[in-house]
């Protein structure tokens, strides 16, 4: 076996140790606390696998595990069978931008009685650091040293364009801003989507020049566009955060399922 391959395998083994440097552990705690503050029956939680599913462990509710890519249609059936109960689906970017992308768009256009929490770590972390379809163009990953040539899927943007009633996006380190958005999301009109950007440090962060998780998170905040800032159509490394509308900007007070009302 060649030395570079040995070194590569050693790096791979090291990368498998997840220290939750993405911040999802802390976010999960806050999510769990936010859910506890909700009135009503316990949530129905639907998740498949990967990092997104680990979030469900922090939340009090009735948990359902399903095959990869299928949380949303499963959640639809569950919600229709139990009207009046809140259903929260957990999606990773790998499934939401891959086998679950069609489900995300159709749930958005139909207005399924479900809320979807999309955990976007910008990489297929659990699969060994391959790019997901949501990995920004050119971002190096553990298993793709040059990064993808294709543009990354804008998950929140697609849900918005497909007609979701409520769409938000925040960075995992946004603190109070994320807390406010999360509280709003948990009681938002369905179909609601909250995308949380939380890059995986071992699988993507450290392969792009960030020496520490803190440095990666600082860079993440610089990529976030707040307060109605403009987004270049050519720059898919940056992303708007907050409650999202087609024209951007939190000055719009109400949103509804019909685009004309926004």
């Amino acid at each position: 076996m060649s030395a570079p391959l040995n070194a590569r395998r050693a790096a791979f083994a090291e990368a498998r140790v997840c220290a939750e440097a993405c911040g999802l552990g802390r976010f999960g705690t806050r999510l769990g606390e936010a859910v506890l503050r909700l009135a009503g029956d316990p949530l129905l939680l639907v998740a498949s696998g990967g990092c997104a599913a680990t979030l469900a462990r922090h939340v009090k509710g009735e948990a359902h595990r399903v095959p990869l890519g299928r949380p949303l249609p499963y959640a639809l059936g569950l919600a229709l069978a139990r009207p009046g109960r809140s259903v929260l689906a957990f999606l990773g970017d790998g499934e939401a931008a891959g086998p679950g992308l069609g489900h995300l768009l159709h749930a958005s256009r139909r207005g399924d009685p479900v809320r979807a929490l999309v955990v976007n770590n910008e990489v297929l972390g659990g699969a060994g650091g391959f790019p997901s379809a949501a990995t920004p163009r050119g971002r190096r990953t553990e298993a793709a040293p040059r990064g993808p040539d294709a543009r990354g899927v804008d998950l929140a943007g697609l849900a918005l364009d497909a007609g979701a009633a409520w769409v938000g996006r925040e960075t995992v380190t946004a603190g109070a801003s994320l807390d406010r958005l999360l509280a709003e999301f948990l009681v938002a009109p369905a179909f609601a989507v909250l995308e949380v950007r939380a890059p995986c440090f071992p699988a993507i962060g450290r392969w792009n020049g960030h020496e520490s998780p803190e440095a990666m998170h600082e860079a993440l905040e610089r990529r976030a566009i707040r307060d109605g800032g403009k987004l270049s159509g050519r720059d898919d490394d940056r992303f708007r955060v907050g409650r999202l509308w087609p024209d951007g900007g939190p000055e719009v007070a109400t949103i509804g399922p019909d685009r004309e009302e926004r």
């Binding site: 299928r70 949303l72 249609p73 499963y74 069978a81």
Partner: protein, 321 residues
């Protein structure tokens, strides 16, 4: 008494068996099931939705099952190909569900097309899903799969299967080739014997998951399911008219295969002929089940593309080698 398509009878049986939820993605071969459930379920207080693809339909059906509503969905070979991980999950998690699989056309020009393109004809009948259905839950488990051969049986087996899905609990599959699915025949729900249907479905009773016809003195045993079994029944009569004592063994429960019942029916026969509309997906199971018989009958295969007519089946059964 109602005059129903096999597909319509299946939908009615599912509802009478307790299905209260339907999610579907319409496909030509199974469209009548979707139409019947979309119309009738809301009238019965149930819920019916159309979704974006076959996997979504099955996933939503499982979600409903996990939520306490027995769900049903219908698909064809294309949906069956997507169903593996979901069926495996449902079997492992014990989620009740009824999956109707309608056989695809064997017309290579219009593999998944339907009446509008003229491909759902007897001449294009196919049973290429027989083998895949055995391991349709990603190979992790062999689910109960039932194969009706008439509209009346579509009703009774769907009703029994729906009840079995709840009793197990877990997914149960009804497989109908597209000819049976589109035969319009009399169906009398009030005359259906629940106990007999359940016996036929589960194999718990005397029928042992199978239907036999004139096997007691048979020297040649035909094995067939669905529309081929009906042709084979006529072939039995043709062969006997010509002096060859033929009999028919029809698995009503396709998977797990009713091997004990087959061995009972095949005991003492000289030859077994497995007739199926594919490249031979059932014959190995039959041969394996009969391997321990003494004397061991010769097992042969009659396969085809398009319908196997009674005369052809009878002529093949009469051949001694």
């Amino acid at each position: 008494m109602k005059l129903l398509l096999g597909n319509e009878a299946l939908a009615l049986g599912a509802m009478d068996g307790g299905a209260r939820f339907f999610a579907g993605h319409p496909l030509q071969a199974s469209a009548e099931i979707d139409r019947a459930l979309l119309q009738a379920l809301p009238e019965r207080g149930g819920t019916a939705v159309l979704v974006e693809d076959e996997a979504a339909a099955l996933a939503a059906t499982l979600g409903a099952g996990a939520g306490g509503l027995l769900g049903v969905t219908a698909t064809d070979a294309s949906g069956l190909a997507m169903a593996g991980p979901l069926l495996e999950h449902a079997a492992a998690a014990g989620i009740p569900a009824l999956l109707a699989v309608v056989g695809s056309s064997n017309d290579p020009r219009t593999a998944n097309a339907g009446p509008a393109l003229g491909s759902l004809r007897v001449e294009t009948a196919s049973q290429r899903e027989l083998g895949p259905l055995r391991w349709c839950a990603s190979g992790a488990a062999s689910l109960p799969v039932y194969a009706p051969a008439s509209a009346g049986e579509c009703y009774s087996l769907a009703r029994a299967a729906a009840r079995e899905a709840v009793a197990r609990p877990g997914p149960v599959v009804i497989y109908v080739d597209h000819v049976i699915a589109h035969l319009r025949e009399p169906v009398d729900p009030s005359a259906t014997d629940d106990a007999a249907a359940a016996d036929a479905a589960t194999g718990d009773g005397s029928s042992e998951g199978a239907d036999s016809f004139r096997v007691r003195d048979a020297q040649v045993l035909l094995v067939a399911v669905g529309i081929v079994a009906r042709a084979a029944r006529s072939a039995v009569r043709l062969a006997r008219d010509r002096g060859v004592r033929a009999g028919l063994f029809r698995p009503v429960r396709l998977w797990p295969f009713p091997e004990a019942a087959l061995r009972g029916a095949a005991s003492g026969v000289e030859r077994v002929l497995v007739a199926e509309l594919n490249d031979g997906q059932l014959v190995e199971t039959v041969a394996s089940a009969l391997a321990g018989l003494d004397p061991r009958p010769i097992v042969r295969s009659l396969t085809g593309t398009g319908m196997l007519e009674p005369e052809r089946i009878a002529a093949t059964a009469e051949e001694k080698s």
